[in-house]
Amino acid sequence: MSGQSTYVPKWGIAKWMDSRLPLPRLVYDSFIAYPTPRNLNYMWTFGGILSLMLVVQIVTGVVLAMHYTPNATMAFNSVESIMRDVEYGWLMRYLHSNGASFFFIAVYLHMFRSLYYGSYKAPREVLWILGVILFLLMMATAFMGYVLPWGQMSFWGATVITNLFSAFPIVGETIVTFLWGGYSVDNPTLNRFFSLHFLLPFMIAGVTILHVWALHVTGQNNPTGVEVKSYAKDTVPFTPYATVKDSFAMVAFLAVYAYFVFYIPNYLGHADNYIQANPAVTPAHIVPEWYFLPFYAILRAVPDKLGGVLLMFAAIAVLAILPWLDTSKVRSMSYRPLARQCFWAFCVTSVMLGWLGSRPAEGIYVTLSQVFTALYFAYFLIALPLLGLFETPKKLPGSIAESVLGKSAGGSGAMVGAAAASEPNTKG
């Protein structure tokens, strides 16, 4: 959707710059003239929200790093000193810790959008895979960040997760020792996690640039899943249309985020992490942060340690090959009645896995984890490959413009998928 650049430098200095390093042209083409489908709904605002959250996390994180001490004997108290003595340190720290959760809320909604509207399908496979890489980087960053306050959950979470690598035959123990920088989770582990926690966000920023680049080559998907046919009829320029809509969504998102930061800042955390790490005392239940719970449930569903680890990684790896698992040519679930039901079942499955991840791994919880783990994989490995072959999709609208204007044409869009027809383009 990149097309021909329509940028015309107005001022002398802009002309001078344009012929040397066309940075203004890049900004103009990417954020002003860039054509966006006119029927995008609010689920398409999470990309912008995620960029905002990355900036929030980097800014608050850099400030926190100025006051934090990555030392096993001092880390806990240095975080408390940030909370007590640093001017607005409590604000920086709560913004950062809740920011991680809201980053994940946004990324899960963003992925949910992609899964529902088939945004991973050709020609957006690379865009999608870059997204999976971003998700992995986020998980690594969040995991290491949670270790830094050096509370009980930090320590024991780090112990459990790093120990997973010991399941691999032959090289397992070596990998774990290498991760720890010793023979247990200790000061060297904390030091390297701090270093990596500082590095990874900039890798996220780098991959984000590739992700946005790939997006601007293929153009955005849209709720109908029908590609743009006419820029004039099907799209609106990014500015002001997407700019103002994304701004509204960002501020609304920030309001929810602020509610948590200022009123219930510890709701998403765990009380045990206000107890300093103690290798001699194991908490009653070691529970990861909420955003890891579904994967934690998959890990514990398998009685065999190596099997659990492999299955957990497979749960993410399966996303990377999703573009080739889904055999349907129709992108949007709005036009796929059967797949759509499977999709909602998959959503319920994910929530159930999240709940099971927070339960102790015993009794009925293990059985349920196994059932929902099977359902999780069934969606990707059975439902999506087969449905594409057997399902009869609803009739797609001829174009984005038709899907938007069908409703105003007063019932002429009866054959058009209900979802698209019911979305006036003012929601675009």
Binding site: V244, F248, E423, N425
Partner: protein, 293 residues
């Protein structure tokens, strides 16, 4: 409709997955759930009661501090806004009542000097081993962040409602209940020396004995010569728990105040942006069959 449903479902999904994390800090069976207490610091406009914080400090100093350190709290914190707000002169006098080890001096020796506002509360024991040796092997934990380091499981669907009701007081509720939750053990339960029965403690066996008794701590008197609040164990527990909550979250009042300002701003700003967006999108020749623009 579909859009609305999608969004609602998405929100429910996020909310549900977000909420599931409220996993038990204490899940051992048998304990009673602590009752929710009407704290002054509950809710979006909750603040600390200065007089209560000052009484709570008195209880901590006269009772708890015999065994429990609060090494992250400094005397100067007691005069900061949003806390007990003793005057600076009071804090100087108060700190000077404590002997603080300092040094080494020029002769290389450690020495004791009167406390200063910048000093942390002195610890009752020099190290964990000394504390255990004096307490039947049990370690009295540092209380600096205790009010945030304890919680109890709320269960479904309460944990979701807690987002809206802003219930954040699991720690204080648990601590207050614990302090007043001592009972005789049920028939047939034989307690070892150093063990106590507490109906709120997970597993019910608690190393810490009942330390709060009616009339034990003298409270400031009103003009009529009577204490302004009852000198009861229940009152002591509420007061010292409030003090612990402040110690764990000394900037809570500023947080809630700034939070209100921030939310008012963000909601108004979001409203303005929403109408701006409607206006701008309204410019599109939506209903023109040609769609030309």
């Amino acid at each position: 409709m579909n859009f609305l449903r999608t969004t609602l479902a998405a929100a429910a999904l996020a909310l549900a997955s977000a909420g599931v994390l409220i996993a038990p800090a204490h899940a051992a069976g048998g304990e009673t759930k602590p009752p929710a207490y009407d704290w002054t610091f509950n809710g979006p406009f909750g603040t600390f009661d200065r007089a209560q914080l000052q009484r709570g400090y008195k209880v901590y100093r006269e009772v708890c501090s015999a065994c429990h350190a609060m090494s992250l709290v400094r005397f100067r914190n007691l005069s900061q806004p949003g806390g007990p707000e003793f005057s600076e002169a009071q804090i100087r006098a108060l700190a000077a009542e404590f002997k603080i080890q300092d040094g080494p001096n020029e002769q290389g020796e450690m020495f004791e000097r009167p406390g200063r506002p910048a000093d942390a509360f002195p610890k009752p024991f020099p190290n964990e081993q000394a504390a255990r040796a004096a307490n039947n092997g049990a370690y009295p934990y540092d209380l600096s962040v205790m009010a945030k380091a304890r919680n109890y499981e709320r269960g479904f669907p309460l944990f979701l409602l807690d987002i809206l009701t802003q219930y954040q007081e699991g720690g204080p509720d648990y601590i207050k209940a614990l302090l007043t939750g001592y009972e005789d053990p049920p028939a047939g339960v034989e307690l070892q020396p150093g063990q106590n029965w507490n109906k709120y403690k997970p597993g019910n066996i608690f190393s810490m004995p009942n330390v709060l008794n009616d009339g034990q701590v003298e409270y400031p008197k009103g003009v009529d010569g009577k204490p302004q609040v009852p000198e009861t164990a229940r009152q002591y527990a509420a007061d010292v728990t409030t003090f612990l909550m402040w110690a764990a979250e000394p900037h809570m009042e500023a947080r809630k105040r700034i939070g209100f300002q921030t939310l008012v701003f963000l909601i108004l700003f979001a409203g303005l942006l929403y109408f701006t967006k409607k206006k701008i999108w309204g410019r599109l020749p939506d209903h023109a069959p040609s769609g030309a623009h």
